[in-house]
Amino acid sequence: MTGTARAARTAPAAGPSQQPGGQDRHAADGPVIEASGLASGYGGKIIWSGADFSVGAGEFLTVLGPNGAGKSTLLRMVLGLLPPAGGTLRVFGGPPERGNPAIGYVPQRRALDPDLSISTEDIVGLGVDGHRWGVRLSRRAGRQRREAVAEALAAVGAAGYAGRAVGRLSGGEQQRLQLAQALVTHPRLLLLDEPLASLDLRSQQAVSQLVADLHAEQGFAVVLVTHDINPVLPVTDRVMYLAGGSLCIGTPAEVITSENLSRLYQADVEVITDSRGRVFVVGLEAETAHPHSPATPPGAPS
């Protein structure tokens, strides 16, 4: 909570997005995220700036861009962990605040210690009362916690391994468990940072389908950060493409075009669509091409 961030938020809220896409649902609920002239960066360094956009209630937004383009910093700003470097950002109509239970967050996953034998239930339970001081004493709180955890695990299809040690779960299973932990507070906004990274192709499809199903059932807005648009192409309403210090937002067809991406990257870029509708961006370094098969190097900034 710095003074500069608070001062910056007093400016008027942003209008509707430049290129509104197919997010007609929940339009009456008011935007979940509104950014106006928003800039991202830290330590005096600006990563991107001049962003005007809003995310509607119940909308599915996919955030794309190369490593270091400032995708994760956007999520950190929405979570209130990082002040905007400029412009205004409003979340649920107010300034971003830390610890908002209306936001579920699934960070980029590191591999868990395989020896960690704590049960899946307990990890998900941290989402219920892990932020409270002291120890849980009341029986009623314990029962409510168990019920909330069971419900969240069932929702992500993880009820079968509720009692299993988290260290022994597969990558896809751990991703479900993370989702359950984020959903246990019934958020109105779900932030997912690279949920598909380091999963095999079929798990990628399963996880993105699961997120889409939950999004349709529970009606929360989704902001999903990914390198590769293809697994989420069928389910996303709009995409935001971050590159070269600025961004572009709209439907996939509007944003992922050769002209747009060439302008963002300030280089010759070609977008190719194959017979099954999958898009490929070529003419870039191997690192930023889609689909992104090699895994992100551990600890790489994003």
Binding site: D113, G127, S170, S203, A206, L210
Partner: protein
């Protein structure tokens, strides 16, 4: 001041002492606890073992066992310096390890992956401690015992300080239990949920320094790993629930200390040797047990309940990629 190591010489001075256990365990325990130094050793050993076990579980979860090791070595310079200046060595350990852990906590993430820096500070501190010992003209046994433990030499006053410190550490641990657990298991989500993970990290490092200062009396700075890390590592492998893990970790630390004290009472070998050996043996047993249980569990476990048909192939694919 009674030194570390064998107590046979000490106990032999007492009339009526018969070395070696008999067949009557209760009589043996009564015999053992008839000595003030044994009662003090059990009291201080138990108090510091509980704290070492509970804090140690979080040390393992937070993967900061190297930091715990380093803090105890930095504490050695404090112990030697305190002896040189005429203070209690444990006080010296406490002061320097609190300072070192506070600095590590503040530096936090910037120290991650900086094992070389921590290691060099640790080595420099050991060297400094050695200098202090060589400068000290009195009984060097006092400083030497801080390296390997001195539980049989503990005074009644020190026992009370140890118990008091344990009570304080336990109270703080209970107060910050859930945020500490959350931050230890999943720092990023914990931070997003509003937990001040930086403050928790500093607070935990200070608790760790206090636990180290207490455990140093039992195992010494060189062997602290055994009491502080082994029970936590065993608990991490065995327990599904955090509460059970803490019970296992604390219980094992106490059990190891009790058995070691009793063995050292009846044999001419030092307590800290038994502590380290039992801790290591326990860890090996836990590894063997989990390896066996996993193999048995894989053979026995029914197919996992799946959400829908679309997941079945994925689960199979994951199983194939992960388990190979």
């Amino acid at each position: 001041m009674i030194g570390t190591g064998t107590i046979t010489a000490l106990a032999a001075q007492v009339p009526g002492f018969t070395p070696g256990p008999g067949w009557n365990i209760i009589a043996d325990v009564q015999d053992m606890l008839s000595f003030t130094f044994m009662r003090n050793a059990f009291a201080a050993g138990t108090a510091s073992a509980i704290v070492a076990g509970l804090v140690g579980y979080f040390v393992v979860l937070r993967q900061s066992s190297f930091a715990a090791h380093a803090i105890s070595h930095i504490g050695f310079a404090g112990a030697a310096g305190a002896v040189l200046l005429g203070f209690s060595p444990v006080l010296g350990v406490a002061v320097l390890s609190l300072a070192a852990s506070g600095a590590m906590g503040v530096l936090g993430k910037r120290l991650r992956g900086r094992d070389v820096v921590i290691g060099l500070v640790m080595a420099a501190s050991l060297g400094l401690g050695y200098l202090f010992i060589s400068l000290y003209t009195g009984n060097a046994q006092n400083a030497y015992s801080i390296l390997f433990g001195q539980i049989f030499g503990i005074t009644t006053g020190a026992v009370l300080i140890t118990i008091g410190t344990s009570v304080i550490v336990l109270a703080i641990l209970i107060a910050i239990f859930r945020p500490l657990l959350f931050a230890s298991l999943d720092e990023e989500v914990a931070q997003a949920r509003g937990i001040r993970v930086g403050a928790i990290a500093i607070g935990f490092m200070l608790l760790m320094a206090l636990a180290v200062s207490e455990a140093v009396q039992v195992s010494g700075v060189l062997l602290i790993f055994a009491l502080l890390v082994a029970p936590g590592a065993i608990a991490e492998r065995l327990a599904r629930r955090p509460a059970a893990a803490l019970a296992i970790s604390g219980g094992l630390a106490v059990l190891i200390t009790w058995i070691s004290l009793a063995l050292a009472y009846y044999t001419p070998y030092p307590v800290s040797f038994y502590v380290t050996s039992l801790a290591f043996a326990g860890y090996l047993a836990a590894r063997a047990w989990t390896a066996w249980a996993r193999r048995a569990g894989r053979a026995r476990r029914p197919a996992p309940v799946r959400r829908g048909h679309r997941d079945a192939g994925v689960e199979a694919a994951e199983t194939a990629t992960v388990r190979t």
